[in-house]
Symmetry: C2
Subunit: 469 residues, 2 copies
């Protein structure tokens, strides 16, 4: 077997440039901390956030139906579990999904949720495709779009910064990342001129076939307004690009006066010229902020205006291995939470509210804290779970990193991990290049954990700056 | 977006030839049965088999840790759940796996299980790669091997019949299926001369790079003996082929005097000439017979003698989307069941025994029953969950199928579904071609369900034969 396929060459390059700090521990050395805190990815439960009780109770009953008789569990938990079990083959989560595309009842629930969310713009179960998280669904789409080499290679217009898993995913699937810069000074807004410029540049180098949007922005925390979204939709329509809208943090907008609008809704409110032509795929996931069920790995995409053959193909890609049942059930609970009057309604609502309050307060607190540090500059986040401050490093430190063959923000994160036991993400993982350094920090954590991280960051940061007076 | 990528052309052809009967219902017509019974795939829980209590109890507690206080659950269930939660990031199944390749504790448990199973031939955690079922892991491997077109296209020597999901998987990944026939008259044994002949034929058409083995055989129920396995290993060594060993039914051998030997064990007992050179990947899954947890989607592969870069690449393919946590925990329970003296030991052992007894008795009963039908001939199964009888159909029925543009075994299964509400698998899904017709039938079902299926099959079958006197 060949040792590495052609498409991994780029991955290797990427791995070399952005060595994950976790790989770089000096073996066996004594550390001045007891445990490692990882705030590099959006993994709230690892950071100590609690799961939503209703979700876990329903899933536990589905797994072990003897609990249906357990009176200490709320009635609506047991009723929901009973209903969900009824939607499973043989009444068991241990059977393959009833169809190879998933459980029809869950398709229906998701479509109803989207229809409600978008104020009546209708969603159809046959356009919903399940997968193990939004990365997996995106990977399916990219595999389908990938073709060509050099100037004919499929390219995707990609925001910089983008979600940190995206560059590697594009590379793996043989799709070229064609960057468009988000405007840091304007709260990471998307700029239409920049988009046109980026497309022009891309056209000389590959065949751009899609534009990727992360809204609410990962890792920027930006929330797009309707005007921007309409511009993007017109741009995609004019240029014949598929619109890939990652909307995983739709449930976690906390910025004053901001609200989440889905690309689907905006598209359908722009009239038939657009709503019947623009190819849109939007992604959502149970790893989102308020559910935070990253370990279960579940998500869906909604596919709009695609050739039916594409839709069928995406469904059939699941076909050889039907999607896992439990994440689908978790998804059903996410899109169909307890209603007012249900026994679990109060607890559920409190838990969701507590999560969003923590998130909002943490984001504000951390942003102010970071902006008080010399050489750090942080745009306030309006949504999502990340802060993404820029890092102005002394030239000597940049030089040192160059000599070590790593990016300076990677070196910074690596040292922080080695010295303080906190794992941050480096901006180069988010597609940031040159001397435009950033760090990425998930702020959905218990406030005490966040304080600890911030305190360690301050002392480390000041020490670094002090090393190069 | 292009409507279908190049590689799906074959899939379309395949889909047309082997139309899944479930797609062919006449809409809205009244049926002489109340519900559809699906025995086409190995999905015991859908057919009504119960899950193993210990597995479900442990997973339910992991999902809803308040159950740790539930005294009605056995102590070893709660202790195991506590231990497994300790191996999860943040002590929660809702966090991403601790490493992007999975939970280290589970890697270790699986390696220890393999070492025990193979009488001390050691297995190493770093060679274990998790995935959502054996199809997904195989898909990763095939993607890595796929290259070329026409005479340079990667080919895999594939048994006919093979697992019914395999032809489509090969096609999807752009790998050519190069058939070698199993010897039906000899209980579906593998024949070395046939293997050589198949390789010779394949070499003119593509670049064969691997041989796929299903042992215990899916759908044949054949169990390979050591001599055959040694021949296959020597063949792979001489011809420079990677050995892909699907060993999912290793826990369900019931034929008198038969036992499962892993390819790993046989390889390592053949001396260093082979054990240090032959590239072997073996697959296992929690969907196997005694666990039957198909809906959870979990499995692993063990990778032997591969270039470390391949191993790293296969692990990194998971990297952009860490594997789901719950299936890993189910896998841990599968490879590490209760020990004698543990509170759950008796129940666990009884449940496993009950499953295997049902399986063995059903297989024998169904085989005798099928052999009593005119125009049907069934080899006895020694393992696994399927029977795979051949079907001698009247020439008129074959002619009729030809006119309808489907294979005759597909037409047979389709009619059986429409008229009797039972979904069988057709041999053409297992790679069988020409007029060599077969049906596939999962016999791991409650005995009463099996009896019902058999009775319906008899009356349908006799009616079909009667239509063409």
């Amino acid at each position: 077997m060949k040792s590495t396929p052609g498409s991994t060459v780029g991955v290797e390059k990427y791995n070399q440039a952005c060595v994950k700090p976790t790989l770089c521990f000096s073996q066996g050395a004594k550390k001045p901390f007891k445990k490692v805190t990882d705030v590099s990815s959006g993994d709230p439960q690892r950071a100590g956030m609690s799961p939503i009780s209703f979700v876990r109770q329903v899933l536990a009953v589905c797994l072990y139906p003897q609990l249906l008789k357990e009176k200490s569990l709320p009635l609506d938990v047991r009723q929901r579990a009973q209903k969900l079990l009824g939607s499973c083959g043989g009444g068991s989560v241990g059977s393959y999904s009833k169809t190879s595309c998933g459980i029809p009842h869950v398709h229906k629930s998701v479509a109803e949720f989207i229809t409600r969310r978008d104020g009546g713009v209708s969603s159809h179960p046959e356009n919903i495709i399940f997968s193990s998280g939004s990365q997996k669904t995106l990977s399916l789409v990219l595999h389908l779009m990938a073709s060509g080499e050099g100037e004919t290679q499929t390219g995707v217009l990609t925001p910089v910064p983008c979600p940190h898993t995206l560059p590697m995913l594009l590379d793996e699937t043989g799709v070229a990342l064609m960057p468009y810069q988000l405007m840091e000074g304007r709260g990471w807004a998307l700029d239409l001129d920049e988009l046109h410029q980026a497309l022009k540049t891309a056209r000389g180098r590959c065949e751009p076939r899609a534009i990727y949007i992360s809204n609410p922005g990962n890792p920027t925390g930006h929330v797009q307004d309707r005007k921007t979204m309409e511009e993007v939709i017109r741009f995609a329509a004019t240029e014949g690009l598929v619109l890939l809208a990652e909307e995983v943090y739709q449930d976690s907008v906390f910025g004053q006066g901001r609200e989440f609008l889905s690309y689907k809704k905006v598209l359908f409110e722009m009239g038939k010229k657009y709503s019947e032509t623009v190819e849109l795929i939007s992604f959502n996931s149970i790893s989102s902020a308020s559910m935070g069920e990253c370990g279960l790995r579940g998500g869906y995409m909604e596919v709009i205006n695609m050739d039916p053959a594409v839709n069928n193909y995406l469904r059939s890609m699941q076909g050889t291995s039907s999607p896992p049942v439990l994440p689908q059930l978790a998804l059903e609970v996410m899109v169909n939470p307890p209603s007012p009057g249900d026994p679990s309604y109060e607890t559920y609502t409190q838990e969701i509210r507590r999560t969003l309050t923590t998130l909002s307060q943490n984001a504000q607190r951390a942003c102010e804290f970071l902006n008080d540090l010399p050489g750090m500059n942080c745009q306030p986040a309006m949504a999502g779970v990340f802060l993404y401050p820029s890092l102005h490093l002394p030239p000597q430190m940049i030089e040192e990193a160059k000599m070590l063959g790593v990016e300076a923000d990677v070196l910074y994160c690596q040292r922080f991990l080695e010295e303080e036991g906190v794992c941050l993400g480096s901006g180069c993982e988010n597609g940031q290049e040159d001397q435009n350094y950033h760090i990425r920090l998930c702020v959905l954590a218990p406030p005490a954990t966040l304080e600890e991280v911030l305190a360690r960051l301050r002392s480390f940061h000041l020490l670094q700056l002090g090393r190069f007076p």
